[in-house]
């Protein structure tokens, strides 16, 4: 069971972190970064198979690849932004965290603008 490994890793790191935070907070940040990356990497194979299934479903349902790719990109941006901003919050850098979140939001809006334009054009063309 991989979830056991991940949770146990999390608990062990948590105990180490509680001690480290008081003695050397600098190393604590690095430790939590590394743990985060390890957990993320360990779920990547599973995530990729999920995406594979979704991809075949999308192909069958006639979803244009441009939509599917855009949605996946948006989800990826959400993950990465979340990861970065949580890390900054752990290090007590709330300012930086909110900046990262703003960047993520702008990126998501930038990616969805073409879809919005396409829709608006289509709807306008239906109107007499």
């Amino acid at each position: 069971m991989e979830i056991f490994q991940i949770v146990v890793l999390g608990i062990v790191v948590l105990i180490i972190l509680t001690v480290l935070r008081e003695t050397n907070p600098e190393i604590a940040v690095i430790l939590s970064l590394v743990t985060g990356i390890i957990i993320f990497v360990s779920i990547l194979p599973k995530l990729s198979s999920v995406v594979e299934v979704l991809n075949s479903l999308a192909r069958k349902s006639g979803l244009d690849t441009i939509y599917f790719v855009t949605t996946l990109k948006i989800i990826g941006i959400a993950y990465i932004t979340e990861f970065g901003s949580q890390l900054c919050q752990d290090a007590n850098e709330k300012n930086l965290a909110s900046k990262i979140e703003i960047a993520g939001k702008v990126m998501i809006i930038f990616l969805s603008i073409p879809i919005i334009i396409g829709l608006v054009e289509a709807i306008l063309s239906i109107m007499p």
Binding site: G118, L119, A122
Partner: protein, 172 residues
């Protein structure tokens, strides 16, 4: 009847897909933004077959592709007239390539048809409202004979809003 069946199946598939995709989004403040984008995609898919009925309606995908390209190359406005024309031709060409690639992949994954060449005749003028509307399609199939021609035609016609009579399958 066939049309409605295809449409309903498509919408149901997209709804399932959207729910799974929404589950994948991490629970953060970004969730609502991602949800809006997924909602837009669903809207585009639901609208697409309705647009197929209209003669002058644009293809949503083509519009999305065009604005995506122009957004990413924001230097476009600063180009000279001639360069702009060239870029427009390039965008149309790129869109056509992508479309034929997509049809090829679809035929390969659904009917196991390999080495199909797709010839597309569509509105290639980027400034026209109906840019990207496919007028007719010719599929050149090599070697393979064991497939249901009518079914392939129906599938392509449903996905790309091309009238059935404008799709030709040539066996070589």
């Amino acid at each position: 009847m066939e049309f409605f069946k295809n449409w309903v199946v498509q919408v149901v598939n997209i709804a399932i897909l959207a729910v799974i995709l929404e589950m994948l989004i991490p629970s953060s403040s970004l969730k609502k933004y991602a949800k809006v984008a997924i909602g837009l995609v669903i809207m585009a898919v639901i609208l697409n077959p309705i647009l197929g009925f209209l003669k002058t309606a644009p293809s949503i995908e083509a519009q999305v592709f065009k604005s995506d390209y122009l957004l990413k190359n924001s230097a476009f406005e600063g180009l000279s007239e001639k360069a702009k024309e060239q870029t427009k031709i390039l965008i149309a060409k790129e869109y056509k390539n992508r479309l034929s690639q997509q049809i090829r992949e679809k035929l390969e994954s659904l009917y196991n048809l390999k080495g199909v060449e797709v010839e597309i005749f569509m509105v290639e003028d980027l400034d026209k409202k109906e840019f990207g509307k496919i007028n007719s399609l010719i599929l050149h199939v090599k070697g393979e004979r064991n497939f249901n021609k009518e079914e392939v035609k129906k599938l392509i016609s449903a996905f790309y809003n091309v009238p059935l009579k404008n799709i030709t399958i040539k066996e070589e």
